[in-house]
């Protein structure tokens, strides 16, 4: 107890010192602010993205940086909460005086963060937040590299047409922003493709037991079960489909959890022959994709996936725009970003307007993968397929 006040004083003085000298850091670097969930439930993906950003920045700096100065990344943790994300963005803009912003993982945080960027007129390149609305507000300082959640189903439409015989669908989705908006889009797309949605059910992520809803699905005998679920719910859904001996022609996942290795490890045999939409895999035919995947694996000794590729691509897009910008003023960077037309490991990037969206990148292809014998194989579109898709899915009891 004796040293208590003294210790407290020291801490206070230290803090004050830090607050005061926080602003006087090296000024010659180009500061890029990045908002990501580094703690909390989404931290796993935040980590992958952070590493990808860092790896890209190191490469860019090693190759000479931006007009002689180096990229300096300032990460802020949004903890997965919109209000914290908003505060973090504000801090990056008004205290750290970043020239450009990127990142943005969850849709909720991204919406809050981009609104701040727009108000302060600092360009923000969205990396992951996939709610359609983000680029539908007409914000002229907001750009987005990733396709929106409504586009995940696109490749399935052609695949279903080709495979044939699919007339009814059961649609299960988690009650999250991603799940609800995907479900709405998929339902619409299914209807226009002449597929009848016989069951459409949302659920709270984290349920123990999907059997009640799955027995209803079983009774409806759909040709395809389309699920928008995060990784562990996805694994439980498939395991319980197997338990209940549900045999549609096709099990399909709408991205999110179905492409992660943990899904396959947890669901084990039940994961086999499940399809999933994905935005990117290391097999995509873009220059640098495979190299990025291998470099990441070598550097961090862990696997990366499409979120990482989005981040890696974003960093290159930002660097490219900074190089082309007349000056580092927000306006010039904005103009340079708008004129972007380049190839990245994530895919070609060009910000266009379509539908209600503005300054939105549109990937030429999203992909369908299928788990085959414990490995995830790209099976659609045909031009990029590594393996032939297996259809219809055989009944559980006929599998070895």
């Amino acid at each position: 107890m004796r040293a208590y006040p003294k210790g407290l004083l020291t801490v206070a003085v230290l803090l004050l010192a830090v607050v005061l000298c926080g602003g006087v850091m090296a000024a010659e670097n180009v500061k890029v602010g990045i908002v990501l969930p580094l703690t909390g439930a989404q931290a796993k993906f935040g980590e992958i993205e952070k590493r990808s950003f860092e790896m890209a920045a190191e490469e860019i700096n090693a190759a000479g940086g931006i007009k002689g100065s180096k990229l300096e990344l300032l990460f802020e943790d949004d903890t997965g909460k919109p209000d914290v994300g908003r505060a973090a963005t504000e801090k990056l803009i008004s205290r750290d005086k970043v020239t450009v912003l990127t990142g943005g993982y969850s849709s909720a945080v991204t919406q809050a963060a981009t609104a701040v960027a727009q108000q302060f007129k600092v360009p923000f390149l969205v990396t992951t937040g996939s709610a359609d609305e983000i680029t539908e507000k007409g914000y002229d300082y907001i750009f987005r590299i990733n396709p929106t959640s409504s586009e995940y189903f696109d490749p399935f439409e052609t695949l279903i047409q080709k495979a044939g015989g699919i007339k009814t669908m059961a649609l299960l989705y988690e009650n999250t922003q991603f799940g609800q908006s995907s479900a709405k889009d998929v339902e619409g797309a299914a209807k226009s493709a002449g597929i009848q949605v016989v069951v459409k059910e949302g659920y709270q992520a984290g349920a123990i037991d999907f059997k009640p809803i799955l027995s209803k699905v079983k009774g409806a005998k759909p040709d395809i079960i389309y699920m928008v679920s995060y990784v562990m719910d996805a694994a439980l859904l498939m395991a319980q489909c197997k338990e209940l001996d549900i045999n549609p022609k096709m099990f399909a996942g709408g991205g999110a959890g179905f492409t992660l290795p943990e899904f396959q490890q947890k669901a084990a045999a039940a994961a086999d022959l499940v399809y999933s939409a994905t935005l990117w895999s290391e097999d995509v035919p873009y220059k640098g994709a495979k190299e990025y995947f291998n470099k990441f694996k070598k550097k961090y000794n862990s696997e990366t996936e499409y979120h990482g590729a989005e981040a890696y691509g974003s960093m290159y897009v930002v660097a490219d725009a900074l190089k082309r910008a007349k000056s580092f003023s927000p306006n010039d960077i904005r103009d340079a970003l708008a004129a972007t037309d380049m190839m990245t490991a994530f895919g070609p990037v060009k910000f266009i307007s379509y539908g209600k969206k503005t300054q939105q990148n549109k990937l030429p292809n999203t992909f369908v993968v299928q788990w085959q014998k414990g490995k995830m194989e790209t099976v659609w579109p045909e031009a990029f397929a590594k393996k032939k898709y297996i259809f219809p899915t055989p009944a559980w009891k006929d599998r070895k």
């Binding site: 709270q204 059997k211 009640p212 027995s215 562990m232």
Partner: protein, 290 residues
Amino acid sequence: MGILLQTIVAGLLKGGLYALIGIGMTLIMGVMGIINLAHGQMMMVAMYIAYVLNTMGVDPYFSLLVAMPTLFLLGVLIQKYLLNPLIKVDTILPENQVLMTVGIGMVLTEVIRFIFKSDYKYVTTSYSSATFFLGGISFNVPLTIAFFIALAFTAAMFWFLIKTDLGRSIRATAQDKDAATLMGINTGRITVVTMGLGAALVAAAGCLLAPVYYIFPDLGGPFTAKAFVITILGGLGSTVGAILGGITLGMAESLGATYLGMEYEDIVGLAIFVAVLLFLPGGFKRLTKV
């Protein structure tokens, strides 16, 4: 018909597990008169124990033997050093003990997050999704085992409370703490033992749940919520009530999921909870009398 039967079976099996979660909570609530808002978090800790042992090749059912004593100890320590001292302190709110359990729950969650990160973990067993069919209705093997183990634990608890001295002391403390103290029962010690037992029981539930579910630091909260719903349904301090409460909740969730929609699963449980609070205060204990 098949759908209804399958729904009922699913609800019943899940209910068995809920009962086991509820028994620990009902004991604590009955004896100490407080809600333990760290109950689900204790289960989460037990599940991580099962996970760590599993990475060393131990079957989750054997990890019961480690997780239960460990959690018993944790419960004892919490009660002795964090909750009991509060009884003597003069404060404005009598709920300080409950608020303390909120803090404890946060600490448990965050310590686990610190060690294991937020990643999903899971216990791999060969039988996780093993099933057998009875008349076209699928039974999940681990859940069926969990159901019977839960019944066995409840029977054992019942016997313990009725037949042993310690058990009788616990019941006496639950009924009237002051009278029990006057009768020479060391109620301080009884609360410590009860908390330990409650923690050990929910640890058992965690180990039984581990093979069919997955593990992450934040899973405690929802299970705490389920535990108090079960306890209010069953009536404070009633083991039989906890079983009935658990099964009722399991069934209600399942039937709600099938016939209302899966998104109503949680609302159904909460609605029953509110209904019982209003129309049957005291829960099933009022009906069963034990």
